[in-house]
Structure formats: structure tokens, C-alpha cells
Symmetry: C2
Subunit: 329 residues, 2 copies
DNA sequence: ATGAAAGCGCTAACAG
DNA sequence: CTGTTAGCGCTTTCAT
């Protein structure tokens, strides 16, 4: 392993001069010296040891990113967007998935902090008090997507209530009176929001939103599939359904296909997320599209603005989603 | 930030004793002293600084993982599997996506090395000579999935030739004589393998494998979609197609749906990967299933076996995929 | 069984 | 403009 001292020796200067040359805003170095140093760096293939730089107290140029599940296409797209931005800004991502386990989530948070990430970005937190402490201690934390009702931590999200309302209004506008909802797991703010929006839209149209029209399900293919089965088993069932995520909707479509239920003729479907996959479903899904790149941009910006700022006050960004009408409704 | 010295002071011992208590195989400590130290650790919420430990020369307990694209469901499932194992072994993952850019790939490799990852796990490398140097320097490197013909670096992969052959034989066994293939991008070993398997199976059955039956396409939804359009445009076209990945196959199904081509009646489809999504497609896809968890297990095992071993000789693991027949064929 | 001290590679303050 | 030095938090060798 080649260190700064090796470079210094080869260039015939002291180690600090090597730093002066390599560091953007340190101190002026004579052109000739600089050239010698650069040549030595080149020759030896020297790269500063990021660990040592970090220990010295500098930033680690790393961000911890936690999502419930990498295979959920929405999170996959979110991770991709965040990663691209991080890469552009020379940040590295430490990633983990929580699988909706609070225990796993807080273990990851601790591990990330042990490694002195410059910031924490996470979807779906149960570890609230812990995160409050983290944020208070000066490490920027941004909560994405799954946001608690009130948060002293910065948040970036899509307006789920509005999105659900748009979906249901669209469906009702097409003449549907029995509009069901497949929600996320109970006790999750995102689930509640989408249910709230559904309720609001139903009530605004004087449609009855009874129990049989609501099914909770995990955000998975199987979750959507099974929820659809349950919902369709009831007589006087839904003629349309608002599904809280693309993955679940893909499961719904599969369930319909299995049972000869035609979409949209027998059942209209609108889902929340609008990932690329939704456009390639059979039939292509009408969706409430989350502005993933806005979300990622904003989250990264909040981080960049706050890193090293001590203890800035939290910001809250909420984006309005768009309805994209395709053939499933 | 609370350091080891703080703990030592509170416990009334010297800093080294704190380490002795906390480190598994260091040195015996008197029961009473140990209890005092543990109490102090608890009280202060002390956690060793991973950066300092790493600088001292210890392992970083981190693995760099590079895939072409996090949104490809196969890679997403692979990442999930690797991440679970890493987590179990108290490793953290630094992740990046290359987007098939050699430039981006090698930048990531450098950045990961600057951070002293204990090992590198990557899918699809163009940066061969660079990686050879890395492996020679003692950092375990394992190439996944996309493996060059001959490699001095450890590899773990699925037998693509065999998989393609199984797929085509299955199709030919159903009476198809014009079996097309949608391959990956040209100049990629995985693409070649699948084409080779296709050719072998076609020739073994005396079927003509002409140019019009082969389309190259990127591993994306759009790639599969467009390739299907091109292939289906030709007269005397394929009655069956082997698609080199699930994502592409999803695109193919969408294209078929758009043009009223029924699957499997008008076109039988078999794809490579066997991710969860393939089971939820309309119709459910017949697939050549990659043993993702075997791959992940093996890769992580190779790493664990080799980390700190200096310069072990490379291993090469190849798994045979299974054909899972569903309704698309 | 415990303490003291060296040193990992680097940055920045201090001193020419 | 350049060199010297302290110190980041830790592990480990060497003393006691």
C-alpha cells in the first residue's frame, strides 16, 4: 500500500506538501513542486486513504440508505435515483434493507453511525426516538415516503391522501360506485394516508365505503394477489379497486387473470407508484405516479445543505402526484 | 461523541482495558473490572469508532457490491440475498450501479478500495486488468453472473449454455421448429452463452437457427419489448422465443399484448432468471431459474474464506439452472 | 491482571 | 512557499 509519505519521498518534499497539492482549498504550492508531486502521485498510483481522512475528522462522503425491500420496484427506482445523485456528488452509499423489522432497522442505523456516515436517508422507520437523537446530534436524517404524522426529522414524500383521492375520483368519474382499496399493512402512515384519500373521495361522491371494500396487505406481489382474492370473493363486490402500490397491483392482475376476471371490463384497477413496470403490465396500469426523481433530488439536496451545519431545523417536502391514465381503468 | 477514554475514565481503568473487555480474543480481565467497564459502556452508550478500528489496520467489515442496474429484478433479488448474508455476518454493503459503463465501474472500484472494503463482489465487469491487480493485491474479488471466458478472478455463476439449451429443448419438445432468441447486448459473455446454448439445442434437433431468429437487446423492459417487435415483424417468424432475462420477457409480453399476439398460442415464451415477478406475469412465465440464493451463498462464502488470506487461488463455481414450466409455453 | 506507548495515514495549526 | 508536529480513536506490543 502506497502512502503519502512514499509520494513525499519520491518527490523530495515533505508529506504535508503532498496534501497541499492534492487538497483543493489548502495552500498555494510552487508550480515546479506541484508538478513533481503530481508526477510522483502518478508514478506510484497514490490514492489518499479515505479511512485516515475520515478519522482525522473530515467527512466520510458516505450516506446510509435504508429501504424496506430492494426488490419492490418503487424502492429499487428510488435507490437508483438516490445513488445516481450521490455518485455525482462523490458520495458512496451504504445500503441496507429492513424487511420492515424495527430491530433490523435500528441495528443498521447504529452500524451506519459507527461508520460515521455523513447522513442517513431512510424509508419507513419505526425507530423514532433513536432517530431523533441522531438528528439532534448533528447527523442529517431524512425520512422518505413513509413519514410519521408529526416529525421533528426532515421528511420528503408524496401526498398519499391526494394521490388516493385522484385515483378514486378517476374511477368514480368512470361510473364506478363500488370502489375498493387494497391498502398497505395496518399501522403504517402511508397506508393510512391512502385509505384517508379513498374515504374522502368516496364520501365526496356519496359512495358507501364499507368494510368489505377495504383489504390490508403487505407491499408484495403475493400480498396484492391474496388481497384481491379475498376482496373478489365477496358478493356485491367492487367493480374497481385502488391498489396502494405497483407491486401489489401486479399481484392483483395475476389474480384476475387466474380467475377470468377481465381488467378493466370486470374490474378496473388503479395503482399507486407508477414505476416503469406498471407501464408494461397487461393491461398497462393506470397509476398515481410518484415523482421519484423529485423525491430523490430533494432528499439529497436537503442532506447536502445540512451536512456539517450542526443542527439545522427540519424541512418537510410533500409532492403532488400525477394521475396517468392507461388501460386498466 | 463518546470515546474509549471516556469509558476508561468513568470505569476507573486505563483505555486498553476497555478494549480487552470489548474484544473477543484479546486478554482476560478480572470479573469485577469487566463489570465496571461494561457498566460504563452501557451508561455512556459507547460504541467503538469503526473508522479508527479500520485505520488501525483491522478489517472494515464492509463489502463493495456492484451491479449493472438495481431495478432489474434479477439483480434486485441478488442484492437482497447478498445483503441478508452480509448482514448476518456483520458486514455492511457499499453498493453502486454501473449502468454498464466501464468508466463508472472502475470509478466505483477505486472508491471502494479507497475505503478499504474487505472484498469486492461484482456483476459484469469490463475493468478486467484493474480487477486483476486488485485481486493480486490481496482483496478478494468475486465476479458474479457475467463472467469472462477465462478468469484469474473467482467467479460464481449459472450455466447459461445449459439453461438456454434446456429452454430451447423444452420448446422444441412442444413441437416448435422456429425458436427465436432474444439475447442480451452483444459482446457480453452471458449473451454469448445463451446464444450458444440456443444454437446447440437447435442444431441437435436439426432446426435452422438463422439470423432472423436472433435479436440482441439491452436487459430492460423496453429492450425486450422492442426486440419482440422487430422479431415479430418478419414473416415466417418465430412461433416460440427464448428470452435471455425476465425483464426482457416482461417487455415481450407487453408487446404481444399490444399486437393481439396470444401467449402461448401464437408465441410461446421462455425466459431466463426466474425472479418472483415471472410467476406473476400474464401468463405466468416458463423460466430457466437461476439459483439466486446458492449464488449469493457461494459468493459470500468465497469471500469469507479468503478475506485476510493474502492471495488465495481463484475458485470457479457454476450452477445448473432448473426449468420451471408455467403457462407461457 | 492492568497500564503505557507506539503507530495506522492523514489534515491543519504552527513555525519557519 | 515549505517543513514539523500534534492528534483523530483505536489495537497491540511491551512493561509492570
Amino acid at each position: 500500500m502506497v502512502t503519502r509519505a512514499d509520494v513525499a519521498k519520491l518527490a523530495g518534499v515533505s508529506p504535508s506538501v503532498v496534501s497541499y497539492v492534492l487538497l483543493p482549498n489548502s495552500r498555494p504550492v510552487a508550480a515546479k513542486t506541484r508538478a513533481r508531486v503530481l508526477a510522483a502521485v502518478e508514478e506510484l498510483g497514490y490514492r489518499p486513504n479515505a479511512i485516515a481522512q475520515a478519522l482525522r475528522g473530515g467527512p466520510t462522503s458516505s450516506i446510509g440508505l435504508l429501504v424496506p425491500d430492494h426488490t419492490n420496484p418503487f424502492f429499487a427506482e428510488l435507490v437508483r435515483a438516490v445513488e445516481d445523485l450521490a455518485f455525482q456528488h462523490s458520495y458512496v452509499l451504504l445500503t441496507g434493507s429492513t424487511g420492515n423489522s424495527a430491530e433490523r432497522e435500528s441495528r443498521y442505523v447504529r452500524v451506519f453511525l459507527d461508520r460515521h456516515v455523513d447522513a442517513l436517508l431512510l424509508v419507513g422507520t419505526s425507530a423514532r426516538p433513536e432517530l431523533d437523537r441522531v438528528a439532534d446530534s448533528g447527523t442529517p436524517v431524512v425520512l422518505l415516503d413513509r413519514v410519521p404524522p408529526e416529525s421533528t426529522i426532515s421528511t420528503v414524500r408524496t401526498d398519499g391522501v391526494l394521490g388516493a383521492r385522484k385515483a378514486v375520483e378517476h374511477l368514480a368519474g368512470r361510473g364506478h360506485r363500488r370502489v375498493g382499496i387494497i391498502a398497505g399493512p395496518p399501522d403504517l402512515a402511508v397506508s393510512d394516508d391512502r385509505v384517508t384519500g379513498w374515504l374522502q373521495a368516496m364520501q365526496a361522491r356519496d359512495l358507501t365505503a364499507d368494510e368489505s371494500l377495504l383489504e390490508h396487505a403487505p407491499f408484495t406481489l403475493g400480498g396484492g394477489h391474496d388481497a384481491a382474492m379475498r376482496m373478489l370473493r365477496t358478493r356485491d363486490g367492487a367493480t374497481a379497486v385502488f391498489v396502494s402500490s405497483d407491486v401489489q397491483a401486479l399481484g392483483v392482475l395475476a389474480a384476475c387473470d387466474e380467475h377470468g376476471i377481465r381488467v378493466p371490463q370486470d374490474l378496473a384497477v388503479v395503482s399507486f407508484d407508477g414505476t416503469e413496470l406498471s407501464a408494461y403490465a397487461q393491461p398497462p396500469l393506470t397509476v398515481v405516479q410518484q415523482p421519484i426523481s423529485h423525491i430523490a433530488h430533494t432528499a439529497v439536496r436537503r442532506i447536502l445543505d445540512n451536512v456539517g451545519t450542526g443542527e439545522p431545523r427540519p424541512t418537510h417536502d410533500t409532492f403532488a402526484p400525477d394521475l396517468i391514465v392507461r388501460e386498466s381503468s
